[in-house]
Each structure stands twice: as C-alpha cells, then as structure tokens.
C-alpha cells in the first residue's frame, strides 16, 4: 500500500489537467493553424516561390508590389484600430456605464455595422461621395453642387472612414462585454473615498478593461489589414493598393506563389504588432474583477450631458447602420441600380417569374433553393459558432492561466494567424491536409465536417480574443476554491467559468456566427453539396449581374444576424440573473 502511495503523485502529476491541457491545445492549434501555414510556407520555397520572394523584396517591382502597399496597409491597420478603439470605447462606455437614454436600442444598433458586409458601406460611400473621376452619374453631393476632391472620394481617407465605420462595432462588442463586468463595488468604493470621475475612469475602469481594449485593437487591426472589399472599391480608382488587394490579385491572375509570399509577409507584419500588444498586456499587473462578489453594474449619471451624448451615440449609429442598410434595402427594391429611389418594386423579393423584369427570374422567396440555403446557413453558422467558442474558450483559458510563459505567448500568436491567411490558400491547404485518408481517419473531402473544422479554425481569432478579454477578469480564487473542494476541470468550467464568462462568450459566438453567415470565400472552396448556403446564392445572383437579388439576400442575412444577436442578449440576461 505504502509503495503505491509514494508512486502515485508523480504519475498524477504527469496526467494533471494543468499540464495536459496546454499540450492538447498545442496539438489542436498545430493541426488547425500551423499545418496550413507550413504548407503555404513550403509552397514559397520551391524555385518559383524563391523567384517570388526576390521579385517582391528585391526587384524593380518592389516599390509597387511591397513597399507602397505595405505603407498603405500600416496606415489602414493603425488608423482603423485607433479609430475603432475611440468610437467603440466611447459607445461601449455610453451604453454600459452611463444612464444615457435609449441604452438598449443604442446597444443593438452599435452591434449592427459589423453584420453589414464592408462592401455595403463602401458602396454607400460611393453613392454619396463619388466624383467625376469615375464618370457615369455623379454622387449625391456632386449632384447637389458640392465639389468633391479626389482625396475625399477615393483612396486612403474614405477607406479609413469606411473600415472604421465597419469595425468599430467589433470593438464595441468586445469592450462592452468587458465593461459590464466592472463591478459596482469597485466604483462605489472609489466614490466613497472621494475620487473624482476622471480619476475613477483612469484609475479603475481603464486598467480593468485593458485586456479587452488590446483584444479589440488587435482584432480590428488584423481585420483592417486583411480587408479586401473596401480598398478594392474605393482605392483602385486612384491606384491605391494594399497588401490584401495585391495578394488577392496575384492569386487571381495565376501567380499564386507571389500571393503566398505577400500573405506570409502580411502575417509577419501583423505578427509584430500583435506581439507588441501582447507585451503591453503581460507587462503589467492583471486586474481581476469578477470575483463572485457583487457584480452589479454601476451607472454614472450624465446630468446635463445626457442628451448631447445620446445625440452623438445615436448619430453615429445612424451614419454607420441606417445609411448602409437603407442603401441596401433600396437597391433590393429599385429596378435600376443607378436610380436607387425610383420605381420601387417588390419583384426582387416576391415577384413571379416570366415577366420583363430581371430577365424573367422570380423573386428570391420564390426560389426553391432559398429555403434549403437558409437552413444550411443556419446549421453551418450555429455549429461553427459553438465549436469555435468551445475551442476558443479552452484556448483562452490556457493562455490566461499560463500568462507570461512562452507557451501562452506562442499560443496567443498562433491563434491569431487564421485571420490573416487568405481564405483561398487556407482552403487549399485544408483540402491537401484532410483530403487524403489520414491513418485511421477517413478522407474528409467534401464533407460538412471538413467545412466545419476549417471554418472553426478560420474563426478561431474571434473566439479566442472574445474569451481572453473576459477570462482575464475572472478571479482564479473561484477556481482554486472549487478545485480544493474537489471539482474536476470540466465541472469547474461548466459551473464557474462558463456562467461568469457568458456575456463575452456569446459576444464572440455572435461574431463567429455573423462572419460565417456572411462570408463566402472559404465556404465556396470547400462546399461540394448541391444545396448551397445563402452567401453562395447571393454570389450566384451577383455573378449574373442581378445585384438586386444579391442585395435582397444580404438584407436577409442581416435580419438573421440581428435575430441571432437579440437571442444571445436574451440568453445572457437569463443566465446572469444576478446582474440587475
């Protein structure tokens, strides 16, 4: 007996969840992220790949292929991320921490811009600001006698504005989730000891939500540097190229190696920034605020600023949400894409086929494929959101609990990369990795499973960041006490971490769901069944030149995303009953 007792501890130590979990995480991230990345890297080490390296970095093409796109990309990345922090932080503070009127409606409206595809905002910008450089009919402002200079109509300024308008709601979602966990006890304690409001803000609120701010900054930076639609639509007329338009173009014209090299460089550049931002967080003390005590949110009275700030928050929502949505809805109703507000018809939604409109095509709700596509889309979105949140939570947990170690750093860097890998390369790598039978595992080619795995990996950054920003605030005391009373890791996860982190997790799940429902490029390369998803139906219409149908489906996607986020909010209120 006694020998057994002595022998037991080392073995238990080896199998201890604390050790096992990080190893498991490394394995998962290795397969999901590192393997496709290595494949891309290998493709650039062939003779053709090496030529591509030298063409990009050391040839007469380098300025146009690398340096200028790099500069534009950096300006966009940093500008968008700074702008998003300001706007997202402001709106999150307004909605969560103050007694501004109409908080609920503001809260919903500020989550919307991320659900609207960024090209819709770019199109809306064009509708208003396009100038004579583009010929055709002039934009709203020029038609009304204003002269719009090129720099305001095209190039880096409008792209910055459009991307900030798109991504600030991502920052809002993450920061709001973190702010809502700043306990009233902290704020009240400060107030009682006589701290003034700026002091409370800079001394308590800001430090506590710093992890969320860094998460938001990183995600918006990565999103902005990888965005293709906005710089392509608004930048090309003045020949502004970013790394993402360059790499998309190179793959599109059959020079895939150059595209891959640009992708790797893009990853390296963003990696530097993400590493620095990680340093920023791990270099300072962490503040835990979710301690199981208190937990109510304390609202600041705004006094005379209530209505002006309401106007600011509401105005922002109008500009970033209502305008693009109106343009989208109008263009799904207008027979001519050039005249948005005349001769409206419901034909593109409900019309019977066979008439003169739209070359005899019936409205989208008469398209038999649509219902199937709707179902597929929901299924895909929900499954991917669930799986990536489980993965993301596990990863984020490992990262925050091993904070400061090399392991945590490596994991958090790797978890970010999928955002920057172009989906065409990502999908190709996945087909190559899982297309053939792998040992005892059958070939996953063409299965729903492969699509889900790839999509979960592709959306991992959102899930991990959402998880991290919340987990960082949950006190380890709670888990420690649970561990001491004998709760296993799964039990602790389910009974403690999960309910406390629910708001952040749901926020992350919604982001993933939205991205999945909206995005096309990854799905289209991995899907092989006949029954499509909504974005594929929209693409089919758009390819035929029926923008109205495509826009109608975009509006439908928007409604689905909106419904999903409302359901998530209701769910959160039910689980976190102790909040109000």
């Amino acid at each position: 007996m006694s020998t057994l007792d002595i022998a037991a501890p080392p073995r238990r130590k080896l199998l201890d969840a604390r050790r096992l979990a990080p190893l498991l995480m490394i394995l998962i991230v290795g397969v999901l992220v590192l393997a496709p990345l290595l494949r891309i890297l290998l493709a650039t080490l062939t003779p053709a790949g090496l030529d591509a390296w030298s063409a990009i970095l050391a040839s007469s093409m380098s300025p146009n292929l690398w340096w200028r796109p790099l500069m534009n990309t950096l300006i966009l990345g940093l500008g968008v991320s700074a702008g998003c922090l300001l706007l997202g932080g402001f709106t999150a503070w307004l909605v969560v921490m103050t007694d501004v009127p109409g908080r609920r409606i503001l809260g919903v409206m500020h989550t919307l811009p991320f659900m609207i595809p960024s090209f819709a905002a770019a199109l809306a910008w064009g509708t208003l600001f396009r100038n004579s450089r583009m010929g055709g009919s002039s934009g709203f402002f020029e038609a009304n006698g204003f002269v719009i200079p090129d720099w305001l109509a095209w190039g880096i300024v409008p792209v910055l504005i459009v991307l900030i308008a798109h991504y600030y709601s991502l920052a809002y979602t993450i920061i709001a989730a973190a702010l809502s966990s700043v306990g009233a006890d902290l704020v009240e304690a400060a107030q009682m000891t006589g701290a003034r409001r700026p002091r409370i803000f800079f001394g308590i609120v800001l430090p506590v939500v710093t992890p969320a701010l860094v998460s938001a900054a990183s995600l918006t930076l990565a999103g902005a540097v990888a965005n293709f639609a906005a710089p392509a639509l608004l930048g090309l007329p003045v020949r502004m190229q970013t790394l993402s338009t360059r790499l998309f173009g190179m793959i599109e014209i059959g020079q895939a190696e150059r595209g891959f090299v640009l992708a790797l460089l893009l990853i390296a550049v963003s990696g530097v920034f993400l590493f620095l931002s990680d340093r920023l967080v791990s270099g300072r003390r962490a503040f835990v605020t979710v301690t199981g005590k208190g937990g109510r949110t304390r609202r600041f009275p705004l006094g005379m600023w209530r209505w002006p700030l309401f106007a600011a928050g509401f105005g922002l929502a109008i500009l970033t949400t209502v305008v693009p949505v109106v343009v989208l809805v109008a263009s799904s109703l207008a027979p001519q894409t050039g005249a948005l507000f005349s001769n409206w018809t419901l034909h593109f939604w409900l019309g019977e086929g066979g008439g003169q409109i739209a070359q005899g095509n019936a409205g989208i709700f008469r398209n038999p494929v649509l219902i199937g596509a709707l179902f597929n889309t929901l299924k895909l979105g929900v499954v991917v959101a669930l799986i990536s949140m489980v993965l993301g939570l596990a990863l984020a947990h490992t990262i925050t609990r091993n904070k400061g170690t090399v392991l945590a750093n490596v994991l958090s860097q790797l978890a970010f990369l999928p955002l920057l890998i172009p989906s065409i390369a990502f999908a190709a790598a996945y087909i190559a990795l899982f297309g053939a039978p792998l040992g005892p595992l059958p070939s996953l080619y063409g299965t729903f499973t492969l699509l889900v795995i790839a999509a979960a990996a592709h959306n991992l950054p959102y899930a991990v960041q959402a998880g991290r920003s919340v987990l960082g605030q949950i006190s380890t005391d709670l888990e420690e006490s649970a561990r001491l009373t004998g709760a296993g890791p799964l039990r602790r996860m389910w009974a403690i971490v999960f309910p406390l982190a629910i708001r952040g997790l749901l926020a992350g799940a919604i982001l993933v769901f939205v991205k999945m429902v909206r995005d096309l490029s990854l799905v289209v390369l991995l899907f092989s069944a006949t029954s499509p998803v909504l974005s594929m139906v929209a693409y089919r219409y758009a390819a035929e030149g029926f923008m109205q149908f495509a826009n109608a489906i975009t509006v439908l996607i928007l409604v689905i995303c909106l419904a999903a986020s409302l359901i998530a909010q209701a769910l959160q209120a039910r689980i976190q009953k102790w909040k109000e």
Binding site: M61, N64, M134, L236, I251, G254, L433, F434, S443
Partner: protein
C-alpha cells in the same frame, strides 16, 4: 484468399479501363448515356452561374443522370483542382472555365485535365478551338463607349488616341493585376508590336520611338496608357456604370464586355462597342470545357460536354440557350450569331493565342506592376 482473388480481379479490370478511356472519346451520345446512367451523376465546376439552367435542360434530356453544378471563379477552380488532386481526391468531372493561359500551364501541362472533343460536333469546330483546349464560346474584352453621348459613333478610332491628353484620366479598365482577362488583353496587345507601330504612325504621322527597356510598340502603348492616368476599377459593374450611364456628360471609355450591352435597357445604359478601331478594339478570349483527370464519372462528363454544345438548330436549342447571348460567340459553326450584334468575322478584336499569351503573361504583369 478471397481478398487476393478480389485484388487480382481488380488489377485485371484496370487494364481494360485504360483502353476504355480511349473508347469513351469515340462513343456516340447513346452509348455514353447508357454508361452515364450507371454512373448516375456528373459534377461540374462552372465559371458561370448559368450552369443552373444547363442543369435543368440536361436532366430533362438525360433523366437518371444528376448534374451537380458549382459556381467557382476560374482561379478558385484551378486552386481547388490542384489541391484535390495533390491529396489524391478526384471528385470533379467537368471544368468550365476561362483564364485559358493559366489553365494551360497549371492544369493541362501537368495532366490534371484532358481535352475531349465530342465526335458529334468535332467537324463543326475550327481546329484552333479544339487544341490544346476545347473552346466552348468566345467572350470579349473590347473598347466600349457611350452611344448616347456620342451618337455619331465611337470617339476612338485608333488605340493610340487613348494615350493623348484629350483622354487623360478618361480611360477605364478593371485592374489587370486583379483580373486575368484584362492581363490577357494587355499581353495580346504587347504581342502585336508591328500592328501597334503601324497604328502609331497612322495616328501621329511619325515612327514610334520605343523606350530602350521595352520590347516593342505594344509595350510602349501599355506604358503610355498608364502614364495617361488610366483609371483602374475593381469590377466590371462599376465600369459599365461609369462608361454607359445614359445622361452622363462627357463620359469616359473603357475596356469591357460586349455582351453586357444586353443590359442597356434594364439598367439605363448606352453601352456600345467601338468596333472601327486601329489596329484592334480588344480581344476575344475562350471559355473552355475539359474533363478532369481520373474523373469519377467519365462517361457522364463526356455526355455533358457534348450536350453543352447544343443541338443542330441555329440557336443551339435549350442546351446552348443559357450561353446564347448577343456579344458572345459560339465556336460551333452551326450556331448563328445574334443578328443585332457585330458578327464574329466583323469584330475587329484579336482572338488570343493562348500558348503565346501563357508564355508572355508574367512578363507583362511585371511591367504593369512597375507602372501602377
């Protein structure tokens, strides 16, 4: 025991299978249909969403063979087929794609696809459209102008006019480093240095002086065009709107798709092709049909390709109907061109020479990158 026997039988069956592929290429449609019914389905990647209409017509004509169509751009088809075959997956039967120069290099040369010419229509297709790739139809990237703004015909009669101050910032094109067809257009221009030099002389009265780092008058044209503030766009919809909008004052011209003219009425455009242009107004480029290597349904694949060339009527019947649009041209000679558009013989466009474009494309892409 049983297993080895089965393996031996399988091995034996493989030898005739090789010969069978040869036979499939000679079979009549009836014979192919009989085999295709056993295969049960056929999967096609298509650059055009019109495959949905082909699906209906095909399944009506050949009940029992399920057509599975998937819209994918040419670049995505190539990426997917390469990745699949490297993983040993052979899931697709038929590819319907453009970007012929890349197809030639990345798919045909390594043996990832094969060219199948249906015997039924073989002698109704010109030789140059049967090899190395089978061309289904020709589409265009040609100079388009606004016929409402220029009722007396095209304001451009010589490509070199586009490089003059009058047209500075008023010539449009979808970015040739983003879309293969436009790169093909500029490459084809570069491949006609003599014609471009003659057109230069016709326009300006003097012989052209080509910069020392360039390989001829065609490349010089590309440089001058970019230096004359060529406006690049991200998609053809923007281009059509910019060039074609009816009430526009002083609209630009642009290299677009002739067949987009069919949307004029519906969209309020006045797009028209500038045909009388020296030395050419643009290019005709092929949409090709090919059978994937080790296609899982080889007979159905061939049956589908045969079907897509239409019946013997002048409009190709329901099988070709989805592709019979004015401004696109069938390669099958029995199918008549649309009466309202310029006939193929009358269109002053160069038909791209796929092999030489494939050879020079990368060099022209490099030139364009330095000019942007």
């Amino acid at each position: 025991m049983f297993k080895t026997l089965r393996a031996a039988l399988l091995a034996a069956a493989c030898v005739p299978a090789l010969a069978a592929a040869q036979d499939l290429n000679q079979m009549s449609t009836d014979e192919l249909y009989a085999l295709a019914k056993k295969e049960g389905s056929v999967t096609v990647f298509s650059l055009s969403s019109r495959i949905a209409r082909v699906e209906k017509a095909f399944e009506a004509a050949y009940p029992g063979v399920d057509l599975i169509g998937l819209d994918l751009s040419s670049a995505k088809q190539i990426a997917r087929v390469v990745a699949e075959q490297q993983a040993g997956v052979h899931a697709v039967d038929v590819l319907y794609m453009a970007d012929a120069p890349v197809v030639l290099r990345d798919l045909l040369a390594p043996g990832r696809i094969e060219t199948y010419v249906p015997p039924r229509v073989a002698d109704q297709i010109e030789d140059r459209f049967k090899a190395p790739l089978l061309v289904h139809r020709l589409s265009t990237k040609v100079l388009m102008y606004n016929e409402a703004a220029y009722p007396n015909g095209s304001p451009i009669t010589n490509l070199w006019q586009l490089t003059t101050p009058d047209w500075m910032g008023r010539v449009m094109m979808v970015d040739p480093t983003q879309r293969g067809e436009l790169l093909d257009l500029l490459t084809e221009i570069a491949l006609h240095p003599d014609e471009m030099a003659a057109a230069y002389k016709a326009q300006f009265g003097t012989d052209i002086a080509v910069d020392s780092d360039l390989g001829g008058a065609g490349e010089q044209f590309i440089r001058n065009l970019f230096q004359n503030d060529l406006v690049l766009l991200s998609n053809s919809d923007d281009l059509n709107k910019a060039v074609g909008t009816k009430d526009a004052a002083n609209p630009p011209v642009g290299f677009g798709t002739y067949s987009d003219r069919r949307d004029n009425e519906e969209e309020g455009w006045a797009l028209q092709v500038a045909n009388n242009v020296e030395p050419a107004n643009g290019i005709l480029f092929p949409a090709v049909l090919a059978v994937a290597d080790k296609a899982p349904n080889p007979a159905a694949a061939r049956l589908l390709i045969d079907f897509m060339f239409g019946d013997d009527s002048a409009d190709g019947g329901p099988a070709f109907a989805p592709f019979n649009v004015p401004g696109d041209y069938a390669t099958r000679t029995t199918i008549a061109d649309d009466p309202d558009s310029v006939p193929l013989e009358g269109l002053k466009a160069w038909t791209i020479d796929t092999e030489s474009v494939a050879e020079h494309r990368a060099r022209i892409a490099d030139l364009i990158i330095t000019l942007q």
